[in-house]
C-alpha cells in the first residue's frame, strides 16, 4: 500500500529536508525496530529514538503505567541500553532500513549531554539531535533542566559546541513551566535550531483499592489526547514569539486532523507518541490522513499552512467555518 501523495508534505528542520512532517515521539517507538514489523519506518518523516544516556539504565520499578481518561501516566525512568549499545546496534539498524534518525539524548549533567553529543558527532547518518531536557521521570526534579531558562541554555550550548556543525539541535520543552516562551527563547539563543514540544505533564493517580499511588514512582508523565489542547497552546505561544524557529509539535496526536491542528498553530513537524500504543500503524496512517486533510481543503503545500492560525482570516475575521470538530 503506497502513500499516494496529493499534497506536498515536505518540511524542513534547519537545513535538513524531511519527506513528510510525521515523526515518532521519543520514548514511544524505541529505536524503530519493533514498529518496523507493522510499517516501513522509512516512510515517515523520521524516527525520534527513545532518549539515550551515557550508561545503561534500568529505569523505575513497576507499576510504570496507569491508563487515565483519554491518556495515560508513565513512569519509565529513561530505561535504556546506553550510548555504546545504541551506536553499535540500534542506530545502524535504523539506518539500514533507510529511515531518518533523530537521536534523543538525556543526561543528569550538562557534561553528560555534551559527551553524548560528541559521540553522535562521530556517528554517521544521524539526521538531528533532540535534547531531552524535560523528562519528568527522574529522581531529582532539579534535573528537569527545561524548568529553568539558564539551565536549559547551558545544556543546549554545551551540546551545540560539541555537536558536528551540520547536525541540527532540537530542544525538547516541558509544558510544566510558567512561561514556555522564556525557555524557548533561551534555548534558541543558546544555539537550538529547532524546538520540540510538549513533553508529558507531571501527573499522579491513586488506586482506591490500596488507597496508595498507582505508580511505583509515585508521579508520572501524562500523555495522550487529554493534553492536546495544552500542546496546541504551547506551540501557538512559541510560534507567535519565534515564528522563524522550526517546531516539532506533539501531545495527543491521534489523527491527521490532530496533526493539522498543531501545524496550524505553528508546528512544521508533528510527532506521534501515545497513539502508537493504541495503533502500532498510527504514524503511517496519520501521514495518509494529513495528506487527505490538506487535499480536501485545497492546500497544495504543507509549508503554506504552518502557523496559518496566527493570520487573521480574510473573510471571517477570527472565525473559520467548517473547521471540522
Amino acid at each position: 500500500m503506497g502513500l499516494a501523495m496529493t499534497a506536498d508534505l515536505r518540511t524542513k528542520l534547519g537545513h535538513v529536508e524531511l519527506p513528510n512532517p510525521v515523526l515518532t515521539a521519543s520514548g514511544c517507538a524505541g529505536a524503530g525496530r519493533e514498529l518496523a514489523t507493522f510499517f516501513d519506518v522509512a516512510k515517515i518523516g523520521a524516527v525520534v529514538t527513545k532518549s539515550v544516556m551515557q550508561a545503561p539504565r534500568a529505569g523505575r520499578p513497576t507499576p510504570r503505567m496507569s491508563e487515565t481518561a483519554s491518556g495515560m501516566l508513565n513512569s519509565i525512568g529513561l530505561q535504556g541500553p546506553g550510548i555504546d549499545a545504541f551506536l553499535q546496534r540500534d542506530l545502524p539498524w535504523l539506518l539500514s532500513r533507510g529511515a531518518r534518525a533523530i537521536v534523543s539524548i538525556a543526561g543528569g549533567t550538562v557534561e553528560e549531554f555534551a559527551e553524548l553529543a560528541g559521540r553522535l558527532s562521530d556517528a554517521a547518518g544521524v539526521t538531528a539531535v533532540e535534547v531531552n531536557i524535560s523528562c519528568p521521570n527522574v529522581e531529582d526534579r532539579g534535573q528537569v533542566f527545561a524548568c529553568d531558562p539558564g539551565a536549559s541554555a547551558a545544556v543546549v550550548s554545551a551540546v551545540r559546541a560539541r555537536l558536528r556543525y551540520d547536525l541540527p539541535v532540537v530542544a525538547k520543552l516541558s509544558p510544566d513551566v510558567t512561561d514556555i516562551v522564556a525557555i524557548a527563547r533561551s534555548c534558541v539563543a543558546a544555539g537550538a535550531d529547532g524546538l520540540s514540544m510538549i513533553n508529558t505533564l507531571l501527573g499522579m493517580a491513586i488506586d482506591l483499592t490500596t488507597m496508595r499511588p498507582v505508580l511505583a514512582g509515585t508521579t508520572g508523565g501524562l500523555s495522550g489526547p487529554a493534553i492536546r489542547p495544552v500542546a496546541v497552546r504551547c506551540v501557538w505561544q512559541v510560534h507567535e514569539a519565534l515564528p522563524e524557529v522550526p517546531i516539532i509539535g506533539m501531545g495527543g496526536v491521534m489523527t491527521g486532523r490532530d496533526a493539522l491542528e498543531l501545524i496550524l498553530a505553528g508546528a512544521s513537524m508533528v510527532a506521534v507518541g501515545t497513539a502508537i500504543f493504541n495503533d502500532p500503524s498510527a504514524c503511517v496512517r496519520i501521514v495518509r490522513e494529513l495528506d487527505e486533510e490538506l487535499a480536501s481543503r485545497g492546500i497544495e503545500r504543507l509549508m503554506d499552512v504552518v502557523g496559518l492560525a496566527h493570520e487573521p482570516h480574510p473573510a471571517l475575521g477570527r472565525r473559520l467555518s467548517g473547521s471540522g470538530l
Partner: protein, 321 residues
C-alpha cells in the same frame, strides 16, 4: 491493515480488523472468537493478541492483551481468547456481539519452547491462566509427549478448562481454595505429589506471579525446568512502551529489566527473579549506582544478529522451537 515482516523478511505479526464470531460466557469468564486470518496462521502456543477497546473516539487508549486459547481454520482463520471483566475495557469487550469489528494485533510475544524428545510434561494453570496451556497440550501430544494437567483457582467457576483437561490430559488434577471443585487448596500444595506420580520432566505454567514463583521453587527442588508465561500489565504489547518489565537473569548471569511482551511472555522460571518483581534489583544492569565493571563490557558481545533474541533467557537447554 499492515502485513508485518520481521528482519528476515518473513511475516511476524499482523494488525487486522477482525469480525467477532461469538462471545460466550464460560463460568466466571468470557470466551471471544474473532476472525483474524493472519493472526491464526502465524500463531504458536504461548503467544497473545493485543486488542483495542472502546471503539472510535474512546477515552481508553491502551490495548488489552490476552493469551490465545485456540485457533481454527474456519472463515480463513479464527482466534479465541479468554478474559475476565475487570474494568471498563473488558466490560466493553464482553458487550460485543457477532459481526462487531475489533482491531487486533498478533500473534505477539515469544511462544513456549517445545521439547525435542517425547517427555512427560506437566501443565500448571491458575485461574484463566490455563487458557494458553490447551493449544500447547495439543502441540506436545503431537510430539508424543505425555501431558498432565494441574489447574486451580479460588472457586469452581474460576477454574478454566477442567473438563477439557480431564478429557485430553493423561491425568488432570484440580484444586480450589474453597474446595468447590477438586481438592481444597492451591495447585502448589499438590505439585510435588503430581510431579512424583507423573515422573514430570518439564513444567509449563501460567497464572498469577505468586503461583509462578511457587511452582518455580518446587520445580527447582527436583531440578525440573519450568517455562512460565507471565501476565504482566502492558500498555502496547509490541515492545515500545517499556511498562511490562521484570528482572530476569540472562545466560551471562547479568540481571536485566526485560520486557515481558517481546522478550517473554514465556520465561524460564529459574531465570526470573520472582521475589524482586516490582523493584529494580541493586545489581540489575543500569540500576541506580550501577557501574560498568572495568574488566567486562557492560553488555555481552552479540554473536547472533542483534535484537531482543540476543538476550532472551527463554531458550531452555534441550528445547527448540
Amino acid at each position: 491493515m499492515s502485513d508485518a515482516r520481521n528482519e528476515a523478511g518473513s511475516p511476524a505479526h499482523v494488525q487486522v480488523r477482525g469480525t467477532v464470531l461469538t462471545v460466550r460466557r464460560v463460568d466466571a469468564y468470557y470466551a471471544m472468537t474473532v476472525v483474524a486470518p493472519g493472526v491464526a496462521a502465524r500463531f504458536r502456543p504461548g503467544q497473545f493478541v493485543a486488542v483495542a477497546v472502546g471503539g472510535p473516539e474512546t477515552s481508553m487508549l491502551l490495548r488489552r492483551v490476552f493469551s490465545i486459547h485456540d485457533v481454527r481454520p474456519d472463515h480463513g482463520g479464527t482466534v479465541e481468547f479468554i478474559f475476565a471483566t475487570v474494568g471498563p475495557g473488558t466490560r466493553w469487550l464482553a458487550e460485543r456481539r457477532t459481526r462487531d469489528v475489533l482491531d487486533i494485533a498478533g500473534p505477539l510475544g515469544r511462544p513456549f519452547p517445545l521439547p525435542r524428545d517425547p517427555v512427560n510434561c506437566l501443565l500448571v494453570g491458575g485461574g484463566y491462566g490455563s487458557a494458553p496451556l490447551f493449544p500447547l497440550a495439543t502441540r506436545l501430544r503431537g510430539r508424543s509427549c505425555t501431558v498432565d494437567f494441574l489447574i486451580g483457582a479460588a472457586s469452581a467457576d474460576r477454574v478454566f478448562g477442567a473438563m477439557t483437561a480431564r478429557r485430553t490430559g493423561r491425568t488432570a488434577t484440580v484444586t480450589t481454595e474453597d474446595g468447590s471443585l477438586g481438592g481444597r487448596g492451591l495447585v502448589t500444595d499438590v505439585l510435588s505429589q503430581v510431579i512424583h506420580e507423573g515422573r514430570t520432566d518439564v513444567i509449563y505454567a501460567c497464572g498469577p506471579m505468586g503461583m509462578l514463583r511457587q511452582v518455580t521453587a518446587v520445580a527447582s527442588r527436583y531440578d525440573i525446568p519450568v517455562q512460565a508465561l507471565v501476565e504482566e500489565s502492558m500498555a502496547c504489547g509490541i515492545g515500545v512502551c517499556m511498562t511490562c518489565v521484570l528482572p530476569v537473569v540472562g545466560d551471562d548471569g547479568v540481571t536485566r529489566m526485560v520486557r515481558s511482551c517481546v522478550d517473554g511472555p514465556v520465561f524460564r522460571g529459574e531465570q526470573v527473579r520472582w521475589n524482586d518483581i516490582g523493584t529494580i534489583p541493586f545489581d540489575a544492569l543500569g540500576a541506580p549506582g550501577w557501574k560498568p565493571r572495568p574488566q567486562a563490557k557492560p553488555r555481552p558481545a552479540v554473536s547472533r544478529p542483534a535484537g531482543p533474541s540476543s538476550r532472551t533467557p527463554a531458550d531452555g537447554a534441550g528445547h527448540d522451537r
